[in-house]
């Protein structure tokens, strides 16, 4: 009796129940084995260390953070930094991708050619290389603190872009710039690298979506007197998004995961603070790595959730 025949004779729910039991047992065995091994090695497992004082500084934090803050505060600050760069890069990537997608379909040969070159160049260079390129060229090209470029109240130098914040104007003070809001070169380079690289994939996804809209739709829009831009926005995009969204959602998840390359250029994200600094200083490498895994999974599940909701809304609309 072949396996396939056996599978067909057993009722489906029996096989499923057996499978579920097997998986549950294996997971339990793996966890028990892990705990026993950690105990045998004398490694104290657990997340109690999160309450202890961290004692280090973080270059950029959206919440107040100092050496007296706890490791948990550091985890939160790092997670917010990752979210910040993911949001900034996603927005920028989407804007670039839409322009490039329409550019690749433009009637003008130069626009089409330039868009194609953009996609082919930035899609085919490894992302890490691009991030390092933007970072080290930014450092090399921008002037030192003493020779800061000044536009109104804004200061630009190799320590970052400093914007006035209310009455708090940035000014050079010794080695550094004091006052204002600082945008670090690490954030700039990472946002740029992630946005440009992922915009090439998004552009192709959007282009496929646009191409899926029947030509008759555009012709009809022109007939009723809509201009090119209004036709694109009101008629083409809503239908194109319906096709593009599932694939685009996956691309935003890729972007979020790739943001962990931040560690290479010193941007204080989850990978760097939790997987690097905290793991080494507490020696709780496995717990810290587990936290990193959980945080990235949570961020990506949120993106999947948002994409899913948006997709359902688009599908719920009546077909144009």
């Amino acid at each position: 009796m072949s396996r396939a025949v056996l599978g067909e004779r057993l009722p489906g729910y029996v096989v499923q129940a057996l499978l579920a039991a097997l998986v549950a047992w294996l997971v339990w065995a793996a966890i028990a084995n892990f705990r026993a091994n950690m105990h045998a090695l004398g490694v104290s497992a657990g997340f109690g260390f999160l309450q202890a004082q961290a004692g280090f500084q973080i270059a950029q934090s959206l919440v107040p953070f100092g050496p007296a803050s706890s490791y948990l505060d550091a985890v939160i600050a790092a997670a917010l930094n990752t979210l910040l760069v993911v949001v900034l890069a996603s927005v920028l990537a989407t804007i670039i991708a839409l322009l490039v997608a329409f550019g690749r379909l433009a009637p003008h040969g130069i626009v089409r050619g330039a868009s194609t070159v953009y996609v082919e160049v930035f899609r085919n260079i490894p992302l890490l290389l691009q991030i390092l390129f933007w970072y080290f060229s930014a450092i090399a090209l921008l002037p030192g603190v003493g020779d800061s470029l000044q536009f109104g109240g804004v200061l630009l130098n190799n320590r970052g872009l400093f914007l006035p914040f209310g009455a708090d104007r940035p000014h050079v003070e010794g080695f550094d710039v004091a006052g204002g809001v600082a945008i670090l070169p690490e954030l700039m380079a990472l946002t740029l690298g992630l946005a440009i690289y992922n915009s090439t994939f998004l552009a192709e996804i959007f282009r496929a979506g646009i191409l899926s809209v029947p030509r008759g739709q555009i012709e009809a829009a022109t007939t009723v007197g809509l201009s090119g831009a209004r036709a694109a926005l009101l008629i083409v995009m809503p239908q194109a998004l319906r096709v593009a969204l599932p694939a685009a959602g996956g691309q935003y998840q890729t972007l979020a995961k790739a943001s962990s390359l931040a560690a290479a250029i010193g941007y204080p994200d989850i990978m760097q603070i939790v997987g690097g600094t905290i793991a080494s200083q507490t020696s709780q490498a496995l717990e810290a790595m587990a936290l990193v895994v959980v945080l990235y999974a949570a961020i990506n599940l949120c993106i999947a959730l948002v994409a899913g909701i948006a997709n359902r809304r688009l599908l719920a609309r009546p077909q144009a």
């Binding site: 396996r3 396939a4 056996l6 599978g7 067909e8 057993l10 096989v15 499923q16 499978l19 097997l22 998986v23 294996l26 997971v27 065995a29 793996a30 084995n33 892990f34 026993a36 091994n37 045998a40 090695l41 004398g42 490694v43 104290s44 004692g55 280090f56 500084q57 973080i58 270059a59 050496p67 390092l132 080290f136 450092i139 030192g144 190799n158 320590r159 010794g174 080695f175 550094d176 670090l184 070169p185 690490e186 560690a263 290479a264 250029i265 010193g266 204080p268 760097q272 603070i273 997987g275 690097g276 600094t277 905290i278 793991a279 080494s280 200083q281 507490t282 020696s283 490498a285 790595m289």
Partner: protein, 343 residues
């Protein structure tokens, strides 16, 4: 093609999950037995640090840390060529030791209380280091106090981060810190003027400066802001292995104290000095008690020389690093380095 049946899906899932469980693996029974049965010693080493662990022009990795790995292989397996060098960064190194990816780290890690309690054991200090700051001479900083408001580059997860926080905090100095996953990128950012200064072990700074064509444009501030006892690391709960590593390293220092060198170690086997006889295994049964042949220390010294030989060959005044022995001189010469008595 027919869709796969439920059972074949189940079978594949089972294989996958069993793989995961197997990877979780059993705790290592005994590292020394493992090393002997594999016939090779797996050493975690620094990715690249001139003089300590770096590839030479022939693409072969050599340096102070590599010699320590060779010494342990010579002691455990009788052959210093039976090593597998695994360049690792800090993250993978600390996770790799308890899981058995490596047998020993002959890395540049500082012995700290939290690391020790956390399950990492440092059998013997082989390098007394301290951290210092490097600055461009143009910056006109002469003391650490001149670094108020400075931006500091360093390696993420290193002890440097905590040292900066406590030192600058205690001296009421303000600073910004940028930390990098690799020492290369931290150094590139400093040389690229992203930071005003970079903090690292003084040995690490010497290794970096050794590779700069314009090394005289930089200087290391004279103040040393920490004590960094550095040595190989083994996993906790392996007393036999820890002892073998400790007394192999110890033999290198004892050899220098007793005047046994790589050049004269064969002749020294017929020495009438009882200390030398015990060290080289001519008398006594220390090796047997450690689980290796009695001449394990002889093999180690024959392979890489004594502590001074290793120093001079890799990092000494005649190398690009130009490091004086300083704190690492033998106690008899005013330093801190001494052996545990071989008796």
């Amino acid at each position: 093609m027919r869709p796969p049946s439920m059972l074949s899906i189940a079978a594949r899932t089972f294989v996958g999950v069993v793989g995961v469980v197997a990877l979780a693996g059993a705790a290592r029974a005994d590292v020394l037995d493992d090393v002997k049965s594999h016939g090779v010693l797996k050493c975690g080493v620094t990715l690249a640090a001139a003089g300590f662990s770096a590839e030479n022009n022939a693409g072969k990795r050599e340096g102070f840390d590599i010699d320590l790995c060779k010494a342990i292989a010579a002691a455990a397996l009788g052959d210093d060529s039976k090593i597998q060098l695994m360049p690792m960064d800090l993250k993978t190194a600390f996770a790799g030791l308890p899981t058995g990816v490596v047998d020993v780290l002959t890395h540049r890690f500082t012995w700290t209380e939290s690391r020790d309690i956390g399950g990492l054991k440092f059998p013997k200090i082989m390098f007394y280091d301290g951290q210092g700051f490097v600055v461009a001479k143009k910056s006109k900083a002469n003391r650490i106090a001149d670094l108020d408001n400075a931006t500091i580059c360093t390696l993420q997860g290193s002890t440097s981060e905590l040292i900066v926080a406590s030192y600058f905090g205690a001296h009421k100095l303000k600073y910004k810190i940028v930390t990098f996953a690799s020492a290369e990128q931290a150094w590139d950012a400093f040389v690229g003027k992203r930071c005003d200064t970079l903090i690292n072990d003084r040995s690490g700074l010497a290794a970096r400066l050794a590779k700069l064509p314009n090394r005289d444009d930089y200087k290391v501030l004279t103040e040393t802001v920490s004590n960094e006892p550095i040595g190989p690391v083994v996993a906790q709960g392996q007393p036999r292995w820890e002892a073998l590593v400790r007394f192999t390293l110890n033999a290198l220092v004892a050899a220098e104290e007793l005047g046994v060198t790589q050049a004269n170690v064969d002749a020294q086997r017929s020495s009438q000095n009882a200390d030398v006889q015990r060290l080289l295994g001519v008398n006594g049964d220390f090796g047997t008690k450690l689980g290796v042949p009695n001449d394990f220390a002889y093999k180690a010294i024959k392979a890489v020389g004594n502590y001074g030989d290793i120093w001079d060959r890799n990092v000494g005044p005649k190398t690009a690093l130009r490091l004086e022995r300083g704190r690492n001189a033998l106690v008899a010469n005013g330093g801190l380095m001494m052996s545990i008595p071989v008796r």
